[in-house]
Amino acid sequence: MSDSLLSGKAAIAGLGATEFSKNSGRTELRLAMEATLAALADAGIDPKDVDGFSSYSVDKVPEYEIARLLGCDNVQFFSQVPHGGGAACGPVMHAAMAVATGVAKTVVVYRAMNERSWYRFGTGSYGFASSPIFDNVNYGWYMPHGFHTPAAWVGMFAQRYMHTYGATSEDFGRVAVAVRDFAATNPAAFFYEKPITLEEHQNSRWICEPLHLLDCCQESDGAVAMVITSVERARDLKQKPVIIKGASQGIADGQQSMTSFYRDDITGLPEMGVVAKEIYRQSGLGPDAIQTAVIYDHFTPFVLPQLEEFGFAERGEAKEFIRAGHHARGGKLPINTHGGQLGEAYIHGMNGIAEAVRQVRGSAVNQVDNVENVLVTAGTGVPTSGLILGEA
């Protein structure tokens, strides 16, 4: 452990989730309450004891309503982190900071959305208008050309990455095949018992060249919640404490949201580099100390530069790592053992944090042997975040 004021101070003590689907058939508030109450029950914490909340955009369930329905009368900390999936690890970091500083003792972190049945993220129509507020002006460089989907924005980076390092669509496919293999043995996964082959990946239709359908995650409904408290208190609760050893957010030079096309080099994810440096520093750990990782996979191509930013492969060499199968079942760094967002569900990263918790607890359906530390990353191409979770 380092001299960090954050590392090792807080733990994830409870975990709850709903089922993942394409149509939950109930309100987001209900999903949030189901997951939150399940997380509190998992931890063995009285709902009234919750005194902090954190979530992230574009979650529409307000913390005050959850607080009201839990019966909380003394909430001292709440935050909502921007940038959608890029924020995913941010609420855990905020909660850990609140606990480490004594601002709050019991923080619920949650994500609850009917993203598939109520919104959809990939329609190409987001209600941008022509008034001069920043988002309208910023996305005004793209919308008039019809360059308007996350898959397309990711594809622009991927094409350059492929050109620069010789990675291929098949390398992206190997990511999809490996996580779908994990999903196939995870009963909670949307694609349970539905593995794919590389050939199927290659034959799947174009969404946006260079991305095939099977490079893209499925949109999902569902909720995940967790409870964060001090390590000392967590030791006395029902579950094995999952220690927050490193937590950081990241914005780097030339940062934009999905459109950082103007950097000198667009083949890396320097905001992930910011996160990597900081969470390794806080935890005193390095890539060799990580047994399994949850690498944000809303689209396959960004998995490769993440492996590079976190030091699992040299710059441009993630394709060799992938071709060797190090990321797959039985590999030296199995990633996304729940099936990832490609295979389990797209809960914007929160289901990945949940998988990291299970891997540390030793309760994952695709449990990796001897897990001490798990890396979790958040959304790529946007201001982002990351965590190292581990055993005490």
Partner: protein, 327 residues
């Protein structure tokens, strides 16, 4: 900010009065009956002479809400009966329009009634400019609320003053439309869907030069006048030296394909699919996103030489696009 000259002109017109506009026909039972049928009004006072007489009236009564109807022009615009004024009681709109306020929308109309009007009466109205507001901004746009008050009279026998029967206040908004997708302006309930248009960009004071350049067929790049660094997308301040002053240079339009995608799904109108989009590196060194035109599949490769051209879409915006050229 409204033009001071305009403000003075319209202020001077408030209180101006306009002459008589006559009704084509006397108030009459057939028109009342048609109106009542169309409007679904079933009060026998309006349609049954016997009932009206029992109620103490000499003939059927006109529904008060018909007040405006009697003096309307008819099917053809501005076709008023002989003797009517040829003045335009909304001439203030014509004064405002050339100052950049092309659009008009009716806002509200209030009717005031002095007494019942009976079949057989002949009506006319005179008008007065009641008020012109300060310049206001609404979701529709920026402009002026103009209120005209029309006073209705019933002609009486020679020598006696005509009798006031009611008033109508009519308010319109004469404005410069806010920029927004056209679809929103269509009234709800129209059967045919308006043709989809390309989304308009948000334009700010920091970026307007770029879009105005496109309208003029020029690809303009912002340049920091402090350190001469070129930048795109534009910003209010230089990220290198933090100087706020900038000017622009016109790009040669020569460029190279730095990266690209070909969009297939979802197909969103009005775009054609597959839709190739380039991350373009201009020879001047900055990058921008633009559509690729006239490009064959084997020309879609990083490093492909390109040249800018401009295309106007939907008669409302001009976009830069890039076409392959030989080395």
């Amino acid at each position: 900010m409204a033009d001071q000259e305009l403000i003075e002109k319209v202020r001077a017109m408030v209180g101006r009065e306009y002459g008589r506009v006559y009704a084509w026909d006397k108030v009459n039972a057939p028109m009342i009956r048609h109106w009542c049928e169309v409007m679904g009004v079933s009060n026998p006072l309006y349609t049954d002479p016997a009932f009206a007489r029992d109620a103490g009236f000499a003939d059927v009564v006109a529904p008060p809400a018909m007040l405006q109807v009697w003096c309307m022009a008819g099917l053809d615009m501005e076709n008023y009966p002989p003797g009517s004024t040829d003045e335009n009681n909304f001439e203030v709109l014509k004064v405002i329009e050339p100052y950049g306020y092309p659009a008009v929308v009716a806002v509200n109309s209030d009717l005031y009634f002095d007494r019942h009007i009976l079949a057989g009466e002949r009506l006319y109205f005179t008008s007065k400019v009641d008020s012109v507001s300060d310049e206001k901004t609404t979701p529709l746009g920026t402009g002026f609320f103009v209120t005209v008050l029309m006073a209705y009279f019933s002609e009486t026998a020679e020598g006696k003053p005509d009798e006031p029967v009611g008033k109508q206040l009519f308010r319109v908004f004469k404005f410069k439309p806010a920029q927004r997708p056209k679809a929103e302006e269509k009234p709800a309930g129209k059967a045919e869907k308006p043709a989809a248009k390309r989304p308009l960009p948000g334009i700010s004071d920091d970026t307007r030069f770029f879009w105005e350049g496109c309208e003029a067929g020029k690809l303009l790049i912002q340049r920091c006048t402090g350190c001469q660094t070129l930048r795109h997308p534009p910003a209010p301040v230089c990220a290198k030296c933090h100087a706020f002053d900038w000017d622009t240079v016109e790009a040669s339009g020569k460029a190279e394909l730095y990266s690209f995608v070909v969009m297939h799904y979802p197909e969103v109108p009005p775009f054609d699919y597959p839709n190739p989009i380039g991350l373009i590196e201009l020879d001047e060194g900055v990058r921008l996103i633009a559509g690729l035109v006239g490009i064959e599949r084997d020309e879609l490769k990083i490093g492909q030489r390109l040249q800018v051209e401009f295309e106007r879409f939907d008669d409302q915006q001009t976009l830069p696009q890039f076409r392959p050229v030989a080395e």
